[in-house]
């Protein structure tokens, strides 16, 4: 069984299952072309916790809870639960912070970039192109000897922080806890945050995806990185299966609408779609995994991946508190108004590129 998951066919089948389920989640209620978006869902979760107050993007996303629990399950069943930490945790926080700012300027992490493409949103091509460039810059640093240093085995408690955090989120979601007047868990009444599949379906999909991805090491960034570094197409074959399966399901359920303008929860500001994802790609490459993979590793007990996730959670909050995230295209009086990031969002991307490049340049194994 372990062999199957490590095989080429194993990752292709797993990628296809995850992709098909992600496309189906839209049919079951998730926002358009957003069956699974790790960045957007982290942002929604940050909003639900009141870390930002953008009223349209607040919901505790059960898919992410499932990612952690499914990966934990896979790790426990196959004796891969290994609490570890200590590889430049603060830098990982910073990488998570800027990764999600870049992703939210584009309006999606690599997961959603691929799903947007599978739904016909051609702006995703700019995002994916930027993402590839960002990963390539990360590879340049890696080849120069970039390293965040070694993690070490640590106590079990470190490995249990994220699973416990996931369970607490699940309880807050299930019981819609309110901590008093004006101190609720926030749930969007309109906008993307209000669109979601039934909780148990989302959770189940998350667990299945988390389990499969933990077993196969599915990674939407590693797919690109391994091709650039060593012409290794193993992970890419999983990601291609993910895209093709999502595309076929979209065709079947009538959710494939090709074009650039006025795509759902997307903007056609090409430059910033591109640059936002350069920042995201670099950050994920330097952190050793896409946002999904960070959740799966956190489920395996990787405390540094958990810190990265908390960096994303805080970055998402800033992205909305400081008005950095991209604004979708709008149709006003029959005319297209192109969205994109505010000036502050653009500045944040540039600052992020400089800081992340400085990390790539200076962090080396001693």
């Amino acid at each position: 069984m372990s062999r199957f998951f490590a095989s080429r066919i194993g990752i292709i089948v797993s990628g296809a299952i995850i992709g098909a389920l992600a496309a189906l989640l839209v049919l079951w209620g998730n926002p358009p072309n957003m069956g699974i978006c790790v960045a957007c869902f982290t942002r929604d979760t940050a909003g639900a916790l009141g870390l930002h107050r953008a009223a349209t993007v607040q919901y505790i996303r059960p898919e992410l809870i499932g990612f952690i629990l499914g990966a934990l399950l896979g790790a426990l069943l196959f004796k891969e639960f290994k609490p570890r930490s200590g590889s430049a945790p603060l830098i990982r926080f910073v990488l998570g912070f800027f990764a999600i700012i870049g992703a939210l300027v584009f309006l999606g992490c690599p997961w959603r970039a691929y799903l947007r493409l599978a739904g016909g949103d051609l702006n995703a091509l700019l995002g994916i192109a930027g993402f590839i460039v960002g990963v390539a810059i990360g590879v340049f640093f890696l080849k120069r000897g970039y390293s965040l240093g070694r993690s070490r085995p640590v106590g079990t408690a470190v490995g249990l922080v994220m699973p416990v955090f996931a369970l607490i989120l699940l309880l807050l979601l299930l019981f819609r806890v309110s901590f008093g007047e004006n101190a609720p868990i926030f749930f969007s009444k309109s906008g993307p945050g209000s669109l979601h599949a039934p909780i148990l379906i989302s959770l189940a999909v998350g667990i299945v995806a988390g389990f499969l991805a933990q077993r196969t090491r599915f990674c939407t960034m590693g797919a690109i990185r391994d091709v650039i570094i060593m012409r290794d197409f193993h992970l890419l074959s999983g990601v291609l299966a993910f895209i093709v399966a999502a595309f076929l399901v979209n065709l079947a359920i009538g959710k494939f609408h090709p074009g650039f303008a006025a795509q759902p929860i997307a903007h056609s500001n090409h430059l910033w779609n591109f640059l936002g994802m350069v920042l995201a790609g670099m950050s994920f490459a330097l952190a050793g995994g896409c946002p999904g993979r960070q959740f799966f590793m956190a489920g395996e007990g990787d405390g540094d991946a958990a810190i990265f996730i908390f960096g994303m959670l805080v970055g998402a909050a800033f992205a909305h508190n400081f008005n950095l995230a991209g604004v979708p295209d709008k149709i006003v009086d029959g005319k297209l108004v192109v969205g994109g990031p505010s000036l502050w969002g653009q500045i944040a991307v540039i600052v992020g590129l400089i800081i992340v490049a400085a990390i790539g340049w200076t962090m080396r194994e001693k």
């Binding site: 490590a6 196959f78 891969e80 290994k82 570890r84 200590g86 590889s87 890696l142 080849k143 390293s147 965040l148 240093g149 070694r150 993690s151 070490r152 085995p153 090491r217 990674c219 590693g222 990185r225 391994d226 570094i229 060593m230 290794d232 193993h234 952190a287 050793g288 995994g289 395996e300 540094d304």
Partner: protein, 69 residues
């Protein structure tokens, strides 16, 4: 004596990069020490792709991936 590459605790893709560097240097056998299943699978895959023989041994603190011609 096997050449030992200690890749324990390193993030992806550093274990693979270190293993590849050792393979290019051409001194066999090579023992790559890793501490996660992911690194074990990745190092195994890259060595097998290069047409080399691989044997994995499980130890308490992780795995030894032994690469031979």
């Amino acid at each position: 004596m096997a050449k030992v590459v200690d890749a324990r605790g390193l993030s992806c893709p550093q274990p693979v990069l270190l293993a590849r560097k050792a393979m290019e240097e051409g001194e066999f056998p090579i023992e790559v020490l890793v501490d996660t299943g992911t690194s074990r699978d990745n190092v195994t895959r890259v060595a097998q792709k290069a047409g080399l023989k691989v044997r994995v041994e499980e130890r308490e603190e992780g795995f030894v991936v032994r690469i031979e011609k």
